[in-house]
């Protein structure tokens, strides 16, 4: 009961995406948590949060960006980068093809620049329906370029994390993306720039152990699973059931790893205020 999370945190074929597809294609769907029937219009108006129990549904990368960016300001970068089967890993080509069809994205992260509350930022949002937001060479490269570009312009970076971790099918090349992205975060940070990361359900593995946990300000959505090892792996290792609420956003807040849990509807206003507070002196009114 407690751990009826998507069975396959690394691969995530279908499960997480299905609640997104259901949302957009069906007229009504039951809430994952309280089972009340919700119409797709209702969900869209509520930013994919159940109005009855406040369950935060999964969202696509583009929906996230759309929710934050001032209208018409988002300019995407590097969408032409597409992953390839570097190691000739079995079944990877088919998985990539399925992920492309399922998500309509070229890889697991969408990157670009936009304006939020009048302030220009670089933004990245990970895509849960593309192989569970796993990070391979392309995702690592796109995130690295986002920070490098933001460093050139001296603008903040806003990121949405959702990931099962490093993409196994790219072997050590994917593990190295953790170091590569961390280097870019550090350079951007050392130049005095702001980076805010919003951890969403689930953020685990190599993404937690790199750029997701390296932000100046770490926010989270309620009840998001955030951890290094996934709950199933931990249960197998320690041969015990994990306590209720383990690794959830509220647990991470309690243990000091999250600055604030921000409900989705408040995110734009909250981020705008933070961006205002971090404006360089020369730009302050």
């Amino acid at each position: 009961m407690r751990f009826r999370k998507p069975k396959n945190t690394l691969e995530g074929q279908g499960k997480p995406a299905s609640d997104i597809n259901e949302m957009t294609e069906e007229t009504t769907i039951p809430c994952v948590r309280c089972k009340k029937n919700l119409t797709s219009d209702e969900l869209e108006n509520e930013k994919y949060v159940c109005p009855y129990c406040r369950h935060h549904f999964k969202m696509n990368a583009r929906q996230r960006i759309h929710m934050l960016a001032d209208a018409g300001t988002f300019v995407e970068f590097d969408n032409e980068l597409t992953p390839s089967n570097i190691l000739n890993f079995p079944e990877y080509d088919a998985k990539l093809e399925a992920a492309r069809l399922q998500s309509a994205e070229t890889d697991s992260v969408v990157c670009g620049v936009c304006v939020i509350g009048g302030i220009k930022v670089a933004i990245f949002a990970m895509e849960p329906s593309f192989m569970m937001g796993s990070m391979g060479r392309v995702a690592g490269e796109k995130i690295t370029r986002t920070f490098e570009r933001a460093l050139e312009e001296n603008i903040p970076v806003i990121g949405f994390a959702v990931s099962g971790g490093a993409r196994m099918q790219e072997g050590m090349v994917s593990l190295m993306q953790m170091a590569k992205t961390s280097g870019a975060v550090k350079r951007h940070s050392d130049a005095g720039n702001l980076y805010i990361c919003i951890l969403t359900d689930p953020t685990t593995g190599g993404v937690t152990a790199s750029f997701a946990m390296e932000a100046d300000i770490i926010l989270s959505e309620p009840n998001a699973l955030i951890g290094f090892a996934g709950p199933r792996v931990i249960e197998q290792t320690i041969r015990k059931k994990l306590p209720h609420g383990f690794q959830r956003a509220e647990f991470q807040l309690e243990h000091g790893f999250v600055d604030k849990i921000v409900f989705r509807k408040r995110q734009k206003a909250y981020l705008t205020q933070l961006l205002e507070m971090h404006k360089p002196l020369s730009l302050r009114a």
Binding site: M172, M178, E214, F228
Partner: protein, 251 residues
Amino acid sequence: MTAYERVTAARDKKRLTSLDMINGIFTDFLEMHGDRRFADDKAIVAGIAYLENMPVTVIGIEKGHTVRERSMRNFGSSHPEGYRKALRQMKLAEKFKRPVICFIDTSGAYCGIGAEERGQGQAIAENLMEMMTLKTPIISVIIGEGGSGGALGLAVANEVWMLENSTYSVISPEGCASILWKDSTKAPEAAECLKLTAQDLMELKIIDKIIAETDLLIDGLRLQLITSLEQYNAMNTEELTTQRYDRFRSI
């Protein structure tokens, strides 16, 4: 040798551990304990020693040999405090201008309740970020198992070397086989797919050097460390950190 034979060799309990390397290569090793925040993690040893006449900071993930030692070392799986202890020693190395040498031998960072409560992910992330700009040379050597993020947490270096029969992998072959084929006994096939041997990773330009495992291993490693550190000690900090950044940037 097949990839899985290397995996077995890398896990061999009789294999030289980090402390064997440290005691063989360096002199006057003084171990320093604790992360100043929570505890002393015995899965990671760290301290100061001489490489010939040069003071260096050495850090190693230690598995131990006997059953008692191995259990005391948590089988070489560190908690967050291990990574924080290592980072503390690296910061001291930067302050006192000593090169850093890391020996890596772990099946992975520990998965457990305490490790998660104290931020295993955050501890590794911080090491990746801080090591990238550490203003002193870093050389990391994978001597046995290089288990995923737990290994990378000590391997953001100017050069990464691997012993001939060590492995470095994003996931264990067993873990990979159970995800791919729902059958962990197919680990040998998974090991081939993952390209986790020193030879494969040299081809992929993920490591810089393969160290032959001969009777002269310790002496050979000492000489190679001396030669490489001479080259890095001659660089200014800008060149040093740029080299390290570019090394990972190109992957």
